[in-house]
């Protein structure tokens, strides 16, 4: 009952209700020019459906963050084509929320004001966004943290505020670059669950970058495994597990089978040297 009313409140957004699709063909990225040029990524293809939760996992430096920057239009492609909702990307997406490994909150704004920045800059309706912000604060376990400055919050709470900032304008796509990478294991498990519950209600398209096999399997519909640099997608694994997924994934044989599969790919790649 409560769940249902939350759902409608969370998705009575302005422009979009469902997630966006991302399709990419043979995209590559080369940083720099001439002799200093560095081929960082690809070519890779992506076909992410509206409302899908897709994780990108791969060795350090393989181009995961680069992929995210390309998919959001923040960095130009070096070659290939990329479409969001069927339209080629020509400038940075705005129907999007981004969360990085560091919270990147502004020290000089309270938690709420950090989130409301979305409203200020986009010129959205203040009352509507304020209501959504309070809702997200509740849902993300941030009750009462509205007026606190980031330095008054714990690392986990800051990251939660940063997730609220990425969702408050009801974007159709959520891009996350190792969002839980800097958190302790307990916080990570909780915040993973909270994110999954939010996603189940809103079904935004999520591109989630991680180093953690547990996170990838615990959250995704699909896991894309990347090779060492320059990264290519070498394996696509559909995760057929019921949701919401449990906290202690390791205890479930189905989970272990998926995790084992990813480990073995990494082992073949030579990511692990034991």
């Amino acid at each position: 009952m409560n769940q249902v009313s939350m759902t409608s409140a969370l998705s009575t957004g302005q422009t979009s209700v469902a997630g966006a699709s991302i399709t990419a063909q043979a995209i590559t990225k080369t940083y720099g020019e001439g002799p200093a040029a560095f081929h960082a990524l690809g070519p890779i293809d992506l076909d992410i459906k509206p409302g899908e939760f897709v994780s990108l996992i791969g060795p350090s430096g393989c181009g995961k963050s680069t992929t995210l920057l390309l998919a959001s239009g923040l960095e130009p492609l070096s070659s290939g084509t990329l479409e969001v909702d069927g339209k080629p990307l020509t400038r940075p997406l705005s129907e999007v929320g981004i969360v990085f490994q560091d919270h990147l909150l502004l020290d000089f704004r309270t938690a709420l004001d950090n989130v409301m920045l979305q409203q200020e800059i986009r010129g959205l309706d203040k009352a509507v966004i304020r209501e959504r912000a309070d809702m997200l604060f509740d849902r993300l376990g941030l009750k009462g943290a509205q007026k606190k400055y980031p330095r008054q919050l714990s690392g986990g709470m800051r990251q939660r505020v940063s997730i609220a900032r990425a969702l408050v304008h009801d974007p159709s796509m959520l891009l996350m670059d190792e969002p839980f990478g800097a958190l302790d294991a307990i916080t990570r498990t909780q915040i993973r669950h909270d994110l999954e519950m939010l996603w189940l209600e809103t079904r935004k398209t999520v591109l989630f970058i991680t180093h953690s096999i547990e996170e990838a399997v615990g959250l995704s519909d699909r896991v894309l495994v990347m090779s060492t640099s320059p990264g290519r997608i070498i394996e696509e694994i559909k995760i057929d597990l019921p949701r919401p997924r449990p906290a202690h994934l390791g205890e479930y044989p189905e989970f272990s089978a998926y995790a084992e599969k990813i480990y073995s790919i990494f082992a073949k790649l030579g990511v692990y040297k034991f």
């Binding site: 940075p92 999007v96 981004i98 800059i121 986009r122 606190k148 008054q152």
Partner: protein
């Protein structure tokens, strides 16, 4: 050692020491302690000078020069105000030029490569050397003193503001761009406040330099202000007025440093918010 001793935090001190520490850390407390220390020092000075009968023209007693501060308050106050105005002018000019320039330099790499050597050169050059040149151009007066003050405080503000603007995380711009922020919003809402702590620490150094520099500037290049007054008193061998000028200069310095602290608290409440 017993287990209990090991687990006792080392912060434990005697209650008196703790209370003194609390007093020291509170603003009013530190002011009271400071005043007490100064009063004790002046008392000792007065006592020694009377005891050994030190002649007034050599070292005045505190009662002499503090007396001058009272009896000549109009003249000294006038000069103190002139000095303050010079500080404000020079400092404001410094901030108004240094901050935008720092932003431009941080944003345009070519500008940095071109301008940085010039800035470093101008920075290491003793600023008072320019005084006589400025006198030739503008004549003796507070304007020249203000320009010297400007040069004194300009560089620390520029350098800190530059590092402030550069230290802003690139991924913050990614976030601002997905929000659709224009250049103006990106400056006002992200860059400037994010660089503010750096700019402020530059401004604090700048104010110290300004209150230090203004007296020297008035020695050489002004016909008003405390520096000028002390020079004049020196010409007349009026040593108690010179000491009074010194005290007045210290009060002006104290005032400006205090004003900076207040401005910091007002403009950057987050930097003081405790846990």
């Amino acid at each position: 050692m017993s287990e209990q001793a090991l687990s006792t935090p080392q912060t434990e001190r005697s209650p008196l020491w703790y209370r003194l520490d609390r007093l020291r850390s509170s603003f009013a407390g530190s002011a009271v302690l400071g005043l007490l220390a100064i009063a004790a020092l002046l008392g000792l000075w007065e006592w020694l000078a009377t005891l050994y009968n030190v002649p007034l023209w050599l070292v005045p007693k505190p009662s002499n020069f503090l007396g001058r501060l009272v009896s000549d308050w109009q003249m000294i106050g006038g000069h103190a105000i002139a000095t303050s105005i010079t500080i404000v002018e020079g400092f404001a000019l410094g901030v108004l030029i240094a901050v935008p320039l720092a932003l431009a330099i941080a944003a345009i790499p070519a500008l940095e490569r071109g301008l940085y050597p010039v800035i470093v050169f101008l920075n290491i050059m003793p600023k008072t050397v320019i005084g006589p040149i400025l006198i030739v151009w503008f004549g003796i007066g507070p304007l020249v003193a203000a320009l010297i003050v400007f040069l004194m405080c300009f560089f620390p503000i520029l350098v800190d503001a530059m590092s402030g603007f550069k230290a802003v995380d690139k991924r913050l711009f990614y976030i601002s761009r997905t929000m659709g922020a224009n250049e103006w919003q990106s400056f006002w809402k992200f860059r400037l406040p994010a660089a503010m702590p750096h700019i402020f620490s530059g401004m604090k150094i700048g104010v110290v330099k300004a209150v230090e520099g203004v007296i020297v500037a008035e020695f050489i290049a002004s016909n008003r202000g405390l520096g000028f007054m002390v020079m004049q008193a020196s010409a007349f061998m009026d040593i108690s007025l010179m000491f009074a000028g010194l005290v007045a200069a210290a009060i002006v310095a104290l005032f400006f440093n205090g004003a900076m602290s207040v401005a910091e608290r007002v403009l950057m409440p987050w930097s003081r918010a405790g846990h």
